[in-house]
């Protein structure tokens, strides 16, 4: 993939909208933005525990069948499956 080096210049977007093949760096977490069943603090805690912290590089590897959901995200050297709804809390660029 031709992953660009100008990630700073790219517009920020939620990981929940990223297409397969997208690669970027986590800018911040915005758990209140996600329409998750979990309270925002709980969602943010779980995301951090799975390694979603600022500065980590993420790549969307796979998409599910129904509505391209869930997505499999490579984050550093771990692959995490997450629903797009929860991934909306992760702001990437």
């Amino acid at each position: 993939m031709a992953s660009s080096d100008q990630t700073d210049a790219r517009p920020q977007m939620p990981l929940g909208l990223a297409k397969r093949g997208y690669s970027g760096v986590i800018q911040h977490l915005a758990a209140v933005n996600a329409d998750s069943a979990l309270p925002a603090i709980e969602l943010e805690s779980r995301l951090i525990e799975l390694g979603f912290v600022e500065g980590a590089r993420v790549e969307v590897l796979h998409e599910g069948i129904v509505g391209r959901d869930p997505i499999a995200v490579r984050i550093e050297n771990v692959t995490i499956a997450v629903r797009r709804r929860e991934a909306m809390a992760v702001i990437v660029a």
């Binding site: 069943a37 525990e49 796979h62 869930p70």
Partner: protein, 622 residues
């Protein structure tokens, strides 16, 4: 035994190879039970160190943090902190890490350090890491973390030697106990520990330039929306075949062996109560437990292989949205599919579901999947009452009815799951689908063998005892009191079962059931297919090769079509399977869920039969 027993606790993230290490340390010396009052599995084992110290190990549920967001994770937290009543405070906590993937474990280690417990980090699967070009500066890592760090290859003989040596060293020193400084971490602290972990990893671990391409390449196919589903379907097809086809001969062999043994007792002993008790109570009771073993072994063999390989998480990924519509977790798929063979291994297989709410939902609906024990009842009634006609030129009417029975079972399972989600388990925290997809690994046969052995043993010990006692109870109901001298007709007609059957007959009469059906339903509690034989007994049909066919012919003359359809509808839900209820009680650790299952299935069966009977009557099938 001069030194007291040393207590080890294994902690680690899911997929860290914790269970493989536990198996390597303890071999088959494992005890599996539930923690009191919760559906959390407690796995304990023992071993002796090179210096002869007796050690007891508990394998704690996998977790990413000590926050305790589920009952499983609360157990891990409380045992580590020494807060669990009746549970020894661990002398040493072993934090197990997958060496290829240290990021999340190092964060957990930093959190565990705050508890003040003696702590050691075990870099497991070190061989795989080395092969993939991951190098870890173990000494610097130990320095940076301030705790001992050892490498281990759980699946290789002697791969835990260093771990055992260090355990002995730690046992020999009496380090001053540190106080517990752990408190639930705030979001900021969580973030800070992950950053610190990343800093430590950057300084001590070097990752290969090229990541694991093998997993990525396999996943490109296995997680592909079309190919992935096809592969999943193929795997399930083989598994289903195995459970049905491979287990069947073994099960028949076991049944035949127990029948022969019963016959031997029958021929050896004089006719009477003792003969009947040994043959129909004890031997057929033990037989009805053992006969499930082939299915349980085969299903767990598949599940553990797929889990070890790393496929289970992928199956959950593929099925998540499809199952999610009905409020089920992606991981519920395989247990529910197994339930088509038999709900017992299916319910036991729900252990792959971590979240309690999702697991309970799956357990509650598993008995609605049409199990193989219903097939004899279905075929008997269908062949007696449904004409073998072609409809629409191609479909066989009998096959269509059979298909309809399966379909209604599945539809009602989804409906019940939906209702449970909204009404019953609202106070349990929902688990959004967030799950690690571990890199693929070659399954290790020894670890799988230990896993299958443990499951089989647990089934025999725990579910088996309950199933056995229920069998004896059912025998008692069907045999007491004995018929008076010179009585006509089969003995069961004079028994408690008959009295119960006649008592509940008015309740079942609106469903079109006569007292003979009511009586047959009682021994049918033992196993659904026993109802067929019981109907034969009640209608005084001699057994033998063509017994089933004869029963069908007799029933066709004695029942109306409406009654037959009503009984089919009853059997879609058929709450009367003692073994399933026993397993539900064991797996949920409470009689409450057993009662809930029995109650809701009974209600569904009653309503479905009532509706079927009256609709059939309205169409003139009386």
């Amino acid at each position: 035994m001069e030194a007291p027993l040393m207590h080890l606790a294994l902690v680690g993230t899911p997929n860290s190879g914790k269970t493989a290490l536990f198996n390597a340390l303890t071999g088959s010396r494992q005890k599996v039970a539930n923690y009191p009052g919760v559906t959390v599995e407690r796995k304990e084992g023992g071993f002796v160190t090179p210096r002869g110290r007796q050690v007891s190990v508990v394998d704690l549920p996998g977790t990413y943090s000590l926050r305790g967001r589920s009952p499983d994770e609360e157990i891990t937290r409380d045992v580590v902190l020494g807060r669990t009543a009746g549970e020894a405070v661990p002398d040493l906590v072993l934090c197990v890490a997958d060496s290829t993937n240290l990021r999340l474990t190092i964060r957990l280690v930093l959190e565990l350090k705050r508890t003040g417990r003696p702590l050691m980090l075990v870099l497991n699967m070190f061989d795989i890491a080395t092969r993939r070009g991951v190098t870890v500066d173990v000494e610097r890592l130990s320095e940076a973390l301030g705790i001992p760090v050892v490498t281990s290859i759980a699946v290789r003989k002697g791969g835990t030697a260093e771990l055992l040596r260090r355990t002995d060293e730690i046992a020999a020193q009496s380090a001053p106990l540190q106080e517990n400084r752990w408190q639930p971490l705030s979001v900021a602290e969580l973030r800070a520990t992950q950053r610190e972990a990343d800093r430590i990893i950057a300084a001590t671990v070097s990752l290969p330039a090229k990541p694991d391409t093998w997993t990525a390449r396999v996943d490109a196919v296995v997680l592909h929306p079309v190919a992935g589903l096809a592969i999943l379907a193929a795997i399930l097809f083989v598994m289903f075949q195995a459970v049905f086809a491979w287990a069947q001969p073994l099960m028949e062999l076991l049944s035949a062996a127990f029948a022969a043994l019963g016959q031997l007792v029958h021929n050896t002993l004089p006719a009477g109560l003792l003969q009947s008790f040994l043959q129909n109570g004890v031997i057929s009771g033990v037989g009805s437990v053992i006969v499930f073993l082939p299915q349980i072994i085969i299903i767990f063999l598949f599940i553990l292989l797929l889990e070890d390989f790393g496929y289970m998480a992928r199956a959950a990924f593929l099925m998540d949205r499809i199952m999610g519509g009905a409020g089920l977790h992606g991981r519920a798929f395989i247990p529910l599919l197994s339930s088509f063979a038999c709900a017992i291994p299916g319910i036991m297989a729900t252990r792959v579901i971590d979240n309690r709410r999702d697991r309970l939902t799956t357990i509650l609906i598993a008995p609605l999947m049409t199990c193989s024990a219903r097939i004899p009842v279905y075929t008997l009634i269908i062949s007696a009452f449904i004409p073998a006609e072609q409809i629409w030129g191609w479909a066989d009417l009998r096959g269509l009815v059979m298909f309809g029975l399966y379909a209604v079972g599945i539809a009602s399972a989804l409906g019940v799951s939906f209702l449970i989600k909204f009404f019953m388990l609202r106070d349990y925290a929902p688990a959004p689908f967030m799950l690690e997809l571990p890199d693929y690994k070659t399954p290790r046969l020894k670890s799988i063998a230990i896993g299958v052995y443990t499951r089989a043993k647990m089934f025999l010990q725990r579910a088996g005892t309950t199933i056995f006692s229920m069998m004896v109870l059912i025998w008692f109901l069907a045999s007491f009191p004995p018929p008076p001298a010179g009585a006509e007709g089969p003995a069961i007609n004079y028994s408690l079962a008959a009295m119960i059957g006649k008592t509940i007959e008015p309740l079942l009469a609106p469903l079109g059931f006569n007292w003979q059906i009511a009586v047959a339903l009682i021994p049918g509690m033992a196993a659904r297919e026993v109802a067929v034989a019981a109907l034969g007994t009640v209608y005084a049909i001699e057994g033998g090769k063509e017994a089933a066919e004869q029963i069908g012919q007799v029933l066709a003359t004695k029942w109306s079509l409406a009654t037959a359809l009503s009984l089919l509808a009853w059997y879609i839900f058929a709450p009367q399977c003692a073994s399933t209820l026993a397993v539900i009680r064991r797996e949920t650790g409470s009689s409450k869920w057993m009662a809930v299952t029995f109650g809701y299935m009974l209600a569904l069966a009653y309503v479905a039969s009532l509706a079927t009977y009256h609709i059939a009557l309205a169409f003139g099938a009386g």
